[in-house]
């Protein structure tokens, strides 16, 4: 399981049309061994410095 560290995060309340049904949702910039990527967060909200685990491509959950 790939583990990353949250560099920044925000919760999107005003979503574009195609994602309106999912709002609010959290996205984060997370640092993985291969570099930083933008990901969606599922489940518990995360903060800067939290560890996240990639559960599917582009999708992460709080690791611990």
């Amino acid at each position: 399981m790939r583990i990353g560290v949250v560099y920044s995060e925000t919760t999107v309340h005003a979503a574009p049309e195609v994602f309106a049904g999912q709002a609010p949702y959290q996205i984060a910039l997370a640092d993985f061994p291969e570099g930083r990527r933008l990901v969606r967060i599922e489940g518990t909200a995360v903060h800067i410095g939290d560890r996240v685990r990639e559960t599917a491509p582009g999708l992460c959950a709080k690791a611990d």
Binding site: Y7, S8, E9, T10, T11, V12, H13, A14, A15, P16, E17, V18, F19, A20, Q22, Y25, I27, A28, L29, G35, R36, R37, L38, V39, R40, I48, G58
Partner: protein
């Protein structure tokens, strides 16, 4: 290279004008500009249109000759420049290069955008395409979301607070109240800005600029020509455009834009002045955090100090470093393709002493900073009275 001056300016009101067309908006600004200079349209030998997403908003492409011909400019090369929100900054930089390089004698720059013809949700999608569509927009990252990520990290790393962000909105709305062309002329209190509807935390509605329609125009000529046409030519002392990676994730430090630093360094060097000498500046406050990052990237304040300085009133009209006297994108409005040219219009009028109630007394040196996307394009200009 020849020294270039801005001879004349044109500016429509900014607001919601869905009943007109982008062609008519652009032409109105262009015609006002030529009339102010007393220059016939057939003297224009280069036409530069800054427009981000006219084809997406209005369905019309090949916009530059379409707008040029409505002004009466026929035959001159006419091209649309697209650099997201820095589109008319880019148009201005290229027009300057053509005149400075001796290729053209009279270049007309028009920046225009008409955004309110689409519903807000569709507008958000069109704007999101200024970021990385596959890696950002596809995940639901809107532009407010990208700048919220920047804000959150800036708060974490540099101690910036929600109050610091809100103070930018309060200040720019106070300035916009004095600008008859501004879209949203409304005083905003710190308390109101802090308790606005959450868009992408920590950014509320009051941290975001407006969706507007409008146009701005600039006429450029060699300084020698300019002196024969106006007694108040404003010299372009330095101008530079720079680029960077498109995606926010590809920037090592999300709290600083390398394109802004690079463009500023070149423009200051060309002008032979430093940030401390600037009397007045128009900065790209697409979000409140963007004005704070710009203040720090331009060297106007040390990193982490732009927020406290704003809250203390140092960037207000009466402060020692007045920023966005026009009201900025926050209050004046942000018709994306018009913004860069409109910033230059404000600075030119400030340096000519024509800014009425919001005039910065004795302003001799001015600066514009026009940002595209989340920092992938930037144009910085330095101007002298």
């Amino acid at each position: 290279m020849r020294e270039v001056a801005v001879i004349a300016t044109g500016l429509t009101a900014f607001g919601a004008f869905p009943e007109t067309t982008i062609r008519e908006l652009g032409a109105a600004a262009g015609r006002e500009c030529l009339a102010a200079a007393g220059v016939e349209a057939d003297r224009v030998d280069g036409f530069y249109l800054g427009c981000f997403a006219g084809p997406s908003f209005t369905g019309q492409n090949h916009l530059a000759p379409w707008v040029a011909s409505a002004i009466g400019v026929h035959g001159a090369p006419a091209t649309r420049f697209e650099a997201a929100c820095a589109s008319s900054g880019a148009a201005f930089a290229h027009a300057w290069a053509a005149v400075a390089g001796g290729l053209q004698e009279m270049a007309l720059v028009v920046g225009a955008e008409q955004m309110t013809v689409q519903p807000t949700a569709r507008t958000a999608e069109i704007l999101a395409a200024a970021g990385d569509v596959a890696d950002e927009a596809a995940l639901g990252a809107t532009f407010p979301a990208l700048f919220a990520l920047i804000a959150r990290r800036h708060m974490h790393e540099w101690g910036t607070t929600r109050e610091h962000l809100a103070a930018v909105a309060v200040k720019n709305h106070a300035n916009g109240l004095l600008n008859p062309k501004a879209h949203l002329r409304k005083a905003v209190t710190l308390e109101k800005a802090l308790t606005g509807r959450m868009i992408c935390d920590p950014l509320t509605l009051y941290d975001c600029s407006l969706i507007s329609d409008g146009a701005a125009a600039l006429l450029l000529a060699p300084v020698d020509t300019a002196r024969g046409l106006t007694d108040k030519p404003v010299r372009v002392l330095g101008v530079a455009q720079a680029s960077d990676r498109l995606a926010l994730a590809d920037k090592a430090d999300a709290t600083s834009f390398p394109a802004v630093r690079a463009a500023a360094q070149k423009a200051f060097a060309m002008a032979g002045v430093g940030p401390d000498e600037i009397d007045v500046a128009e900065l790209h406050d697409c979000f409140t955090i963007a004005e704070l990052v710009a203040l720090e990237d331009l060297g106007l304040f040390p990193r982490g100090q732009a927020g406290p300085a704003t809250l203390e009133g140092r960037t207000a009209l009466a402060g020692d470093r007045p920023i966005n006297p026009s009201g900025g994108l926050k209050s004046k409005g942000h018709p994306v393709g018009a913004t860069g040219a409109a910033q230059v219009v404000e600075i030119v009028r400030q340096l000519r002493g024509e800014s009425g109630e919001r005039q910065i007394a004795g302003a001799r040196l001015g600066l514009t900073q026009n940002l595209g996307g989340s920092g992938a394009s930037c144009v910085v200009g330095v101007f002298g009275a």
